[in-house]
Amino acid sequence: MSKFSHIYIEERVAAYPVAQHVLSRFPGSIRIMIRHYKDVFNRPHQDFRRQKASPKLILAVKQEPFLYPGPEVCEDFGNQNFYYTSPVLNCIYDCHYCYLQGLYPSANLVIFVNIEEFFEAADRQLESGPLYLCPSYDTDLLALEGVVPYASRWIEFAGSRKELRIELRTKSANYGAIAHLKPVEQVILAWSLSPDKVAQRCERLAPTLKARLTAIRAALDDGWQVRLCFEPLLKVYDWQRIYGEFLDEVFSMIRAEKVFDANIGVFRMGKEQFKRISRMRTDTDVFAFPMVCREGGVVTYEDEKVMRDFFYQHLSRYLPREKIYG
């Protein structure tokens, strides 16, 4: 079916300019009026995998809360007040290892159109002091910039809030969509990177490594602060050689001294999510390796430390240790 063949629209979104903007992007889509996004998003027994082949859009108005404390499994990069926010639920990519498939009952994308209320919530939180905020965890805002321009909206918002620091996490090569903006000191563009073999096998619909590196190089040349996110590290056959060569490839295209910082994360996931997803995904070996459940109910590889230390040693040949997190 064509992309976003159906758009479910909460009755109350009509007044929001963002809703009109999104609808104008898909004039051929069938529009279905609904009362509340959860009437569609939370239906029982939905098939996440089948929906991924034909995802729909849902336009909704978010209610409180708008900000959530940063999860323990995520790196805070030394920031005290670490929060995340989700102006969009779900991602257009289809990565085998993605936690979203165990978190949400549906693969449909929800766009909350009341973005100004998200900004107001961030301003309220800023009254307590500096804020580190991540609006692109449960989605990929840069990848969706052509559908809803939230990456640029967040950049513009952060530009006038000196005490705010935001990270825009992405796998997209769509840097061109924000290239017209002047770099903002409060903004970190964070690219998730995997070796090409891993990306081809496990990161369905995402751009190639080379395409992402090209986007990163352009962002760095324009003066943006860029973070490299080497996560999740996956246990693949001959992983030492693959990940070693991967770093050589990354830094053959990107000048290490220009990189803001980097983080390393071996594959890990909440126990319940892991159980749910591993039952669903019988088409991938991502969940097929010996795992242990560590403190806090987080499942990871038995030899997580070996993998992490190996990668850290190799990465520290390119980046100073104080720039490496995780």
Binding site: M33, I34, R43, R50, Q51, S278, T282, D285, A288
Partner: protein, 286 residues
């Protein structure tokens, strides 16, 4: 496997003829069966439709067998009324929203495949709705079409099936202005949609086909023998199947030979546990 639920015999007869369905000896409903299709005539009304739908789906479940519903789809097909004459008589519509008039609740099938139909919404009422009821304002409609079964059907079906397995196709029969229904006219309305519905059924069958298990039937039998021989608990049994599937996904190879574990005679719990640990090492670390 496709299940069809119709309210009236005249809605069912074109399908019975087209697919060569044979009458089942069910005492409670008019039930018809073919190779990959069953059809039930529920009677008029959302309660009747819900009961017939539940009966069809519950009969499919085998005691002690998990799942089994993944390859199913169920379709409610029947005539409906339309207020607006932009819908032509005889036009079939695939429903993307079902509204229950009495409760106000709304239900949404998952439409994940291409199809030849116009789409619309239907509102299910407990009573026959006349055109005059709507035009006078006595009854307020929230949907494009009006029927008496869809919401009962959908509620019942969604207890058993995923939303991509449940479909409602309504054929416009009148403009809420018919005093008595004409059986032959209804049957003709349905008949004219059969080619389109048939193509759509083929699409649905493709969508609902489940991927095969990564384990072969020989491997599953061998694992069952291991479970019996080692007297594994239910949990250990699930763990064994899980480890076996992971082994195959990880290595891309067939399972190693487990026949030594079938020949073991387990007398005490500790022996079974020891053997299970050996299997675990074999399947997880190779």
């Amino acid at each position: 496997m496709i299940y069809i639920v119709t309210a009236l015999p005249c809605e069912a007869s074109p399908f019975i003829e087209r697919y060569g369905l044979k009458r089942d000896d069910c005492r409670h409903f008019s039930l018809y069966r073919g190779q990959d299709m069953s059809l039930i005539v529920s009677g008029v009304g959302k309660m009747a439709s819900a009961i017939a739908t539940t009966y069809m789906l519950a009969r499919n479940l085998k005691p002690g067998q998990a799942g089994g519903e993944e390859d199913l789809a169920i379709i409610n097909i029947g005539v409906c009324g339309a207020l607006h004459r932009r819908y032509l008589i005889g036009a079939p519509l695939l429903i993307h929203k079902v509204v229950d008039h009495e409760t106000g609740k709304q239900y949404f099938p998952d439409i994940l495949i291409e199809h030849p139909f116009e789409e619309g919404s239907v509102e299910t009422h407990n009573h026959v709705i006349r055109r005059q009821d709507v035009l006078s304002g006595r009854v307020e409609l929230q949907a494009d079409l009006v029927d008496m079964e869809a919401s009962g059907f959908f509620q019942a079906a969604s207890r058993f099936l995923a939303p991509h397995q449940i479909y409602v196709i309504k054929v416009v029969g009148d403009y809420l202005d018919v005093a008595d229904f004409d059986r032959q006219r209804i049957a003709r309305c349905i008949s004219r949609t059969l080619d389109a519905v048939d193509g759509f059924i083929t699409q649905i069958e493709g969508l609902c086909t489940t991927e095969g298990d990564v384990l072969t039937s020989y491997e599953r039998r061998q694992l069952e023998d291991v479970k019996q021989s080692l007297r594994l608990t239910v949990t250990q049994g699930h763990q064994l199947m899980d480890m076996a599937r992971r082994y195959k996904l990880r290595t891309g190879r067939s399972l190693p030979d487990l026949s030594e574990f079938i020949q073991i005679e387990v007398r005490i719990k500790a022996e079974g546990k020891k053997a299970f640990e050996r299997i675990r090492r074999l399947l997880l670390y190779e």
